[in-house]
């Protein structure tokens, strides 16, 4: 880093490093979602429990910065979804709507191969594959889930949303997404969720 001479006192502002290669920050903790936190999220419940019995694992982690929850402000950070599957279903985030439903989110992919699965309350589905350098705009009103479709690399994205948007996890926890992303004959494949809204 270039050394700078400062002629100014009291310089302060928020700078946070998120390593472009790992997604991690040297000075910001990430929240970890373990496989045990994902109860009911995967279609193959038997396989989910089989894997858990052998020991818990991290499925993904993300940053949740302490930003004022005002519409003037923005929350941001990285999400790291690890490679893995439960049966034929890829490791993924829980996914959520925003509590303030009419708010968008921007994702920018730094590493790996992933899918952003989106659906709104009317059942409209949007699906975007992401490779490094792809930005995806999650339109207002769409629940969104990040899915890692690579075999051995983490899927890492930088995200930004309005700081008052909030998280509604419950709708997805109760209903699921209408679609699942599974591996079929070695290929990521979108199928209908046989258990959607069945709980």
């Amino acid at each position: 880093m270039v050394k700078i001479r400062m002629d100014i006192e009291n310089i302060e502002s928020k700078k946070i490093k998120f390593n472009l290669d790992t997604g991690f920050s040297p000075n910001q903790c990430s929240k970890k979602r373990m496989l045990s936190d994902m109860e009911g999220m995967y279609n193959n419940i038997k396989e989910y429990r089989n894997i858990l019995q052998k020991g818990d694992k991290i499925v993904y982690e993300f940053h949740d910065l302490d930003i004022n929850q005002r519409s003037a402000e923005l929350c941001y950070g990285t999400t790291v979804v690890y490679p893995g599957k439960v049966g034929d279903e890829y490791y993924m985030t829980k996914g959520h709507f925003h509590e303030v439903l009419d708010t968008a989110e921007v994702y920018y992919s730094l590493k790996g191969q992933g899918i952003l699965l989106m659906e709104n309350i009317d059942g409209r589905i949007e699906i975007q594959e992401m490779e490094p350098g792809d930005s995806v705009y999650v339109p207002p009103g769409f629940a969104h889930r990040s899915i890692n479709i690579s075999k051995n690399e983490p899927f890492i994205t930088f995200f930004v949303y309005r700081a008052d948007a909030g998280h509604d996890y419950k709708t997805i926890e109760n209903k699921g997404f209408r679609k699942l992303v599974i591996e079929r004959n070695g290929t990521p494949t979108i199928i209908d969720n046989p258990n959607w809204n069945n709980k």
Copy 2:
């Protein structure tokens, strides 16, 4: 890219690639700011005109996507500031306030060495150096300018702000920033702008 079998019709959503190494998009045009667009922005007017006489140059370019200007939505893209100086003052963006003053912005640095210079209407200054992987939060109310302090690399950032924020360029065009970033003995140095508010 992994090939995906889609069982769904009408899949559409906004995906835009911004190359992590160059900042450029294969399918989105950038807006270019030429040296000739920067009349009055640099402190050394004589040197500015000397350079211009030898031929115009690109100082920076950025993306301005067609997003609904609603507070629910987000504008995003990349800015590429080229290396160079006018006299001892580094190449930089014009810098602006948001028209909706109480709106933040997030920058994420992809390449190069830069400075984000910020000031609010009360004269509070915030300055952040950025290297690849650094995010900087521009608090609501702060004008912001990106400055490339490297000798030979572009300074590339990914940015996100509320889509209704708007741009107030005029305040800075008329007054300038209170501080300048210049090279002194080979080192980026912050000094008072001798011509601040003198127009």
